[in-house]
Amino acid sequence: MIAAFLGVLGLVTLGLSVASATAWRADDTLVVSAPASGSGTLVVTAPGVLEMGGSPVTVTARAHGGSKVVLAIGREHDVTAWVGADPHTVLTGLASLHAMTTTSVGAEPATAGPAPDPEGSDMWIEQATGVRTAKLTWTPVAGRWTVLAAGAGDGAAAPTVMLSWPQAVSTPWLVPGVGVGSILLLLGLAWGLRLWLQARRGGPDWHRTDTGAVPDLATAGGSMRESGAAIAPDPGLDDAPTMILTRRQMRAAAAPAPRTAPRLTLRLRGEGGERGARASSLPRTGAPAPDPAAPVAGVPAVAPAPVGTDAPTDADAPAVGAPTLTPAPIEDAPVRSRFSAGGWIPRRPSTTKAGPSTEAADGDPAAPTTPGPAASAARALPVPPVPAVKPPAAPGSRADAWRRAWGFPGEAATGPDDPVGPDADADADPPDQAQPRKDTP
């Protein structure tokens, strides 16, 4: 729409500016005429009239009646003397840009006899004779000069006299108009072309991505940066919405990561080496993972911390988290995020299906798969692994994670490197967070 508007605007501007220099351009000549009038067959100009429009002047006379017309330029006094007492018309000046003012002199009708014919007088410095029309061009020189136009021959009458001068005509709008018009037109065309290409390709050929030093991580409770908070993962359903974490969050998440064997390595600035990229929120989950806290992971992203706090009351956790949750499903969940409507919508891990089918998540306590019952089972099961997997992480790490998540200096910066339960990581986390992007396309 705007493209079309721009294009039309450009065209109109172009057209107007060109027209201003062509069709609407002022004439190169100033032309004035005086119709035949008055009695007699003679028309003369007042001194100065010939020169008033510039130089040179072109005089044209058209006969009315009669067949011969004579134009002659002579000194004012000579012309006046030649005309003598004969009735004649004097052109005295301009009435408008196209007409002249006239004065009739000697109103009495011409005496009988042939009309006076000035042709051939030695006094004229320029003269022209023609049948019905005569024309001469004269470059004014110093002095008082006038033109004498006479109709001659049978039935002669005063001719119509036209004077024309060249005039300089400027076209101030041409260049700027064409420039601006061209730019507008090109803009419109370019825009239109792009739209057309898009339409042909069937959809947008690009989409936004926010990238940067910060890796995008999806955490269960994370706020969606791109799609806005609008998509708040239903804690009950899924804890693995794709999301982007702040660096701090990531650190917080990474710190406790108890397990090693990251599937994906990320280089985190400042931390130096590679890190269990799994950094994700796993730690959190990691902690809970063992215990019923697992479901906690599903808790709204924002506050893993609270979860942590809650951790003790793991028993309750199930209540908070969707009962459906089990570590297992979590694993793949993240993998499946997809793009739609300009935002990342976390794919709900159709826990049941995906979870089990995929990875070796089975190995985990999550194994129990089935969500519903799992919840209860989870409680039961997780317990044992917890201590097994990472005794250290449990309480302290959780608190630490909380602190980090909220920006408090965490004294217990645990070595991220811990090779601890890599697996736990893998599953619990949306490890894939980094992946979603790759997947989506």
């Binding site: 100033l30 100065g48 020169e51 008033m52 429009g53 006094h77 030649w82 003598g84 301009l94 002095g143």
Partner: protein, 351 residues
């Protein structure tokens, strides 16, 4: 129709009136704006009327004029017929040329035409707005190596053409006085102009007296010598006086300036170039003898006299003369000088 529409369409409401007044104001404003944009109309700014009239003819006009005269003259010379010659010749020139055609025809070319070369060497253009207008032209030397001619061109009235009124052969050794350039023009002087040693009409009258009386004239000393023209005139009288003496007859010759045929243009030094027409009448009477009329005289008798006719009583010959003078300004010690002259027999009567 909605109410507002009705209001607008109706003519009586207040709103329309306001609209109309607003419209009128807008229109007036637009007109003013457009008028402001419109270029001012050119106005005639005629040159001031010169204190001194411009030259009546430009050089180009003179050249064109001489060409026209020359063309007509050439045509007439070829036909040895003066028919149509009056369009471009007048006064003494026309009379002289007409006589020359007759003589040339009668003598089969033994007596030829006066060579007239119409290429101008110098112009003395009148600066005037009156008529008649007279312009002097000094031509180049003719092909026969006779002296250059001083042509007198004249326009009698606004609607008449310039004609060659007369010509004079410049006398040997004369020097034309300096005159204003053609682009400035020389002011014409009336026949009774003051400021000269003698007014033009007086100069002509005095010269006629000198021609008649010779050195006995009171004015003889006012004219510079030598004057080859005067010498030839007085010298030409001797043979006829001798004939008269032999035939118991008389011989008289009178010189009469033609009235109103004296033209003068001022020179650079305040003097004047004066050209006048004059007629010379020679009257010869014989008694007891006969005179055989030469063909060249019979030719200008208008057919009244046949060639070789026997004249027993009288022979009257009339000459058309054109004489040009330089008249110095008043107070000058310079003498009046005859610059040129022409003397052509134009008519003969006899019995």
């Amino acid at each position: 129709m909605t109410a507002p529409e009705r209001r607008v369409l109706g003519c009586g409401g207040r709103a329309p009136r306001r609209l109309r007044s607003v419209g009128a104001a807008v229109a007036a404003g637009a007109c003013l704006a457009l008028a402001g944009c419109a270029p001012a109309l050119p106005e005639p700014h005629p040159a001031a009327v010169a204190a001194v009239p411009p030259p009546a003819l430009t050089i180009a006009q003179t050249d064109r004029l001489l060409g026209a005269i020359g063309a007509r003259l050439t045509a007439a010379d070829t036909a040895l017929s003066a028919a149509g010659l009056d369009a471009r010749l007048s006064g003494p020139a026309l009379a002289s040329r007409t006589a020359e055609y007759a003589v040339t025809s009668a003598t089969a070319g033994a007596k030829g035409l006066t060579a007239l070369q119409l290429n101008a060497q110098a112009l003395v253009v009148p600066s005037t707005q009156e008529w008649p207008r007279t312009e002097f032209v000094v031509t180049e030397q003719p092909d026969d190596l006779t002296s250059p001619r001083l042509l007198v061109l004249q326009q009698a009235s606004p609607r008449s053409e310039y004609t060659m009124w007369g010509w004079a052969r410049l006398l040997p050794g004369v020097k034309m006085p300096a005159t204003a350039t053609p682009t400035i023009g020389s002011s014409p002087l009336p026949a009774d102009a003051a400021g000269l040693i003698a007014s033009p009409s007086d100069v002509v009258a005095h010269y006629a007296d000198v021609l008649l009386n010779g050195d006995a004239s009171a004015y003889a000393s006012t004219f510079a010598a030598p004057d080859t023209y005067r010498a030839s005139i007085t010298g030409g009288r001797a043979p006829l006086a001798q004939v008269a003496a032999q035939a118991n007859g008389t011989f008289t010759e009178t010189y009469t300036p033609t009235p109103d045929q004296t033209y003068a243009l001022s020179t650079a030094d305040g003097g004047a170039l004066v050209v006048t027409a004059m007629s010379t009448a020679s009257a010869l009477t014989i008694t007891g003898a006969s005179l055989r009329l030469p063909a060249e005289l019979a030719a200008v008798s208008g057919g009244a006299l046949a060639p070789d006719a026997e004249l027993r009583n009288a022979l009257n010959v009339t000459y058309a003369d054109v004489v040009a003078f330089y008249v110095p300004p008043a107070g000058s010690k310079t003498l009046i000088q005859v610059l040129g002259a022409e003397h052509i027999r134009t008519s003969v009567t006899g019995s």
